[in-house]
Amino acid sequence: MGVGIEVSNLNAWYGTNHTLQDINLNIPANHATALIGPSGCGKSTFVRCLNRMHETNPIARVTGTVRIGDLDIYKDIKPVAIRRRVGMVFQRPNPFPTMSIYDNVAAGLKLNGYSNRHALDEIVERSLKNSALWDEVKDDLKKKSGASLSGGQQQRLCIARALAVDPEVLLMDEPASALDPVSTSKIEDLIFQLKSQYTIVIVTHNMQQAARVAEKTGFFLNGRMVEFDSTHKIFTNPSDKRTEDYITGRFG
């Protein structure tokens, strides 16, 4: 099951560039939360702070607190361990190109020392079913490589890979921006199904997508969280004029 995320006084820098400023936010468990804002506003940096990927950049720095469930992820747990609990899917599908479909999904588990063949088979099947890809690939699991799939299938394969390690949170950074409308619909349907089991945070430039899949939406601008409210409120009657101006296309 998913867990809630509490962010307090979060600040992030790339070198001297103060990319996130005093972010305070409670992301509810087992919901989809969308983050919107113009390019460079800090929303991707924000999600990368939720699994400590931000600090993989040598000039990056973070202060503040991020609690995922009961854990303060910057104090109580190592970065590698937190990334097992917080899966991430990126804009461009990035399957391991030479690995089979099966090995792509099992990669994270094997890295964590799983070797029980029977258990691996079960988890791979369950993950592919949860990512709505099983029916399309079940006959070619070990015959075809991840790179042989279509873009939309590759993205669902990456979601299966993220789900295989049984995370509590799933971060998605523009997961459908490189996909055609049919593949996009499948990803959105998937998000809708997955949020009963996982806490989902999705960065998107597609307002309609945010409106369709998320219960909560946050608007970022210039490194700050301008507004965080129910998606319905944000897209029909936002409180802040900057939110209104952005979502109606008056800037951004």
Partner: protein, 235 residues
Amino acid sequence: MTRIRFQQSLEDLKEQLLVMAGLAEQAIQRAIEAYRVRDLSICDLVTRSETAINRLERDIDQAALDLLAMEQPMAGDLRFILSVIKINADLERVGDSAKAISDRVRNMEQMAAADLPVDIPKMAALSAEMVRKCLQSFIEANAEMARSVLAMDDAVDAMNKAAYKALTKVMEEQSHLAPQALNALMISRALERVADHATNIAEDVIFWVQGADVRHHKSVTGGRDPNALAEKSSS
């Protein structure tokens, strides 16, 4: 500023609706004038403007539909387009009411004049004022002005009820005046409908400007103050 073409399309839509509003307001003014001076040539003008209003109603709906489909508007823009669609329908019905009044005037022209216990000009002036004010609130995006229209509706309703009571009494007691009384009753009813449409338009202006839904406030809130309700919903 981005989406310049979209912004221009919204301005164009507003312009179209204002043309529609001008025609509807003119139609009701003319129908009232036709009643006042019993001039059938003015009734002809009302009939002609109704045709123009009907054509414009379709054009505006099509333009609004195109913007919804092609631009996926959000927030204030979305509320604006939804309000335009609804205001458009109400304006068309104001045109219908003007036509209904002018039809009654034609009918009355064929009858002997009668002194009826109903002040149609006063009721017409109040209904026309509501139409003028709700349209001004749309032009100015002024929710406060729109709220003042809501408060006027009760007065027109009361006048219509009083007219019904007085005119049915005429029909009962002076049957030779029943045809004239019936025409006056139907004009009173048409004016009351005009006031209702003005109220709807005012509610749509409030929704567009503030995102507050103040419709059916009496039945939904048990008669509580719609202003307080709107403030609560926007806070």
